[in-house]
Amino acid sequence: MAETRFYDEELKAAFPLIVQDEAAKGEFSHFLVPKDLLPAITHHLHTQPSLHGRLTLLWAVDNRPIRDTYGLHYLFTLESSHHWVVLSAELAGDDRLFPSITPHVHAAKWYEREIRDMFGLIPQGHPDLRRLIRHEHWPKGAHPLKKDFPWDRVLGRQQGEHHFRHIEGEGVFEVPVGPIHAGIIESGHFRFSVAGEPIMQLELHHFWKHRGVEKLFEQQELIAAVALAERVSGDTTVGHSLAYCQAVEALLHLNVPRRGRYLRSLFLELERLHNHLGDVGAICNDTAYALPHAHCGRMKEQIMQLNDRLTGSRFLRGVNRVGGVTVDLTGVQLAEIVAELDRIEKDFSELETIIGSNASLIDRLETAGVLTERTAWDHAVVGVVGRASGLDQDLRRDRPFAAYDELRVRVVTYRYGDVRARMRVRMDEIHESMRLVREVSVKIPQGPVAVEPSRRPKAGEWTLSTVEGWRGEIVYMVMAGENGNIHRCKVRDPSFVNWPAIQWAVLGNIIPDFPLINKSFSLSYAGNDL
């Protein structure tokens, strides 16, 4: 804590005009900032070597009807201490302009465009003000997250076309891909500019699957919205529902019993396992090496069937609830999990040897889709992709949640940032997850698995929650509204920050390698588009 104060004092000394909000002292340092100072302070936080702040979340809130203002909030994680700093600015009255921090903090690029689309607030000085979520056929003035926009309004349609960045010159041509792809993949559009084989530019055009999730949250009660959180991105059911539940529990001052927290860790690791197993197989399959794909598909299926036997859902749906978990496992079931994972680990180790000794596969994976540490840092890339590019971050170790304060996680990092590194991270994490599950089965205490919520938070109280899902850092900001409803719920899937980085990772690679690189990132479209 003493260290924390040091950062606070330093920031206050550098910017005397900012005011510290003492109420939030425990979880994070909270500063109220005049909006004109935002670029300078964020630049300071981001670049100062002693702070090394990574933009973790940027969100806006329409404070009506409580106050007639818009709130802008910037969450930075200080990489040296994993401490959180939140900067808040307010736009009062008819003020719709705020200074863009993108010229200083590149990672803010999509967040600010998102705020413009959803709230109609304009980031002044932003280098790219094209629409992001609102495709061009959305009528002008439709900003869904404004409080005076009805959640069930039928959008009209106008004429409009998305303008891609063009590269012109002899022999340069564009390859459009999507939104509907050739395999069973979600919907998204990629626009390549190529001269011959190598990719000169890739531009993403996403948000085809925008379902209005954040607005739908606002129609729900705090304790009832877990099911919606599970459906933000189906493959991360546990990750999202856990992050949401933790946020609500913080608002309701609930302490989840230890056994409940252990079970949450267990389910989170099971989710990590089936997804990582699937991805390792799929990466091999994208080089037309079908054998590991078949074996991994089989092992993944075993874990999903195990999930089904334990909880009645292959995706572990309905497992998390506000206050704990809904499922308790018996000693026999825990033993069954451990035995099953022991079998799969042996199975997978044999497969690893086969994969590792295939020279033509390794040749294809090495140096493909390199994401350098610098580019990864500039985009604030998180999770598996970040760890494969040398960013040593894992919330299970850095900001422990669930039972990770009692379970030590060994974080896997690789430096090269190519497809092979991303596959290696997944392979090592598979072993680590299995070890963690075994540790859970030994250490898990007896007792209740959930507590009942009793308190009702005041309107306007808000909190942050993060979970290291299998893709990476999932962040939720939940603000309570009147009568136990949700005023605002900001969801950030790791995909939202990792997608832009892929545009840099593919440069200079050939188009046939793109599916491989894309698979090694393995990002969610649903979680990104919301």
Binding site: D152, I184, R231, V232, G234, T237, E301, T353, I354, Y525
Partner: protein, 169 residues
């Protein structure tokens, strides 16, 4: 090479090693079965995601793994709607995907069947009423088969597809 063979021999046959699906709530209508008649021994389907949470996609991918191995029934996944006999649509149809869905339907050659996979495609599920959703699928294109579930298990999808292609009248 020896290692690979040994692994395959040790693993043995895993196809069909999954729990039996619960009996179908909503079996295919005789109309749908009639429409599916030309595709009884071979059916190529194209997956169209109109805003699902990706759980349905994951279960569809699972159909291709060695445990379910859907290709043994002559069902395969086409890379383009122009090669497809059937469209499998997931998700509640978002405003942004509405036009793409209609285009895909137009570009699929007749005769064709449309399968709505999962609760979202059938009735918009949790996303019903949202400003960004214009579905369900049936509002935009005619549907022949409904496979409910959130998401339906692969074995359930398999049963529904087998049922659809059963010899009938």
């Amino acid at each position: 090479m020896f290692r690979i063979l040994k692994k395959s021999l040790k693993t043995g046959v895993v196809t069909g090693q999954h729990p039996v699906a619960a009996p179908l709530v909503e079996a295919s209508t005789s109309e749908a079965k009639h429409k599916a008649k030309p595709f009884r021994s071979s059916l190529a389907f194209r997956a169209v995601d109109t805003g699902s949470c990706n759980a349905c996609e994951m279960e569809m991918n699972a159909l291709a793994n060695p445990v379910y191995d859907i290709e043994r029934f002559g069902i395969h996944i086409a890379a383009s709607p122009r090669h497809a006999d059937a469209l499998v649509v997931t998700g509640p149809v978002t405003v942004n995907m509405e036009r793409a869905l209609k285009d895909v339907y137009k570009h699929t050659p007749d005769p064709k069947i449309v399968i709505a996979l999962g609760d979202c495609a059938i009735n918009c599920g949790m996303f019903k009423g949202s400003y960004a959703v214009t579905g369900p699928v049936e509002r935009h294109i005619p549907i022949d088969v409904r496979i409910p579930g959130c998401p339906p298990r692969p074995s359930e999808i398999l049963t529904a597809l087998t049922e659809l292609r059963k010899a009938g009248n």
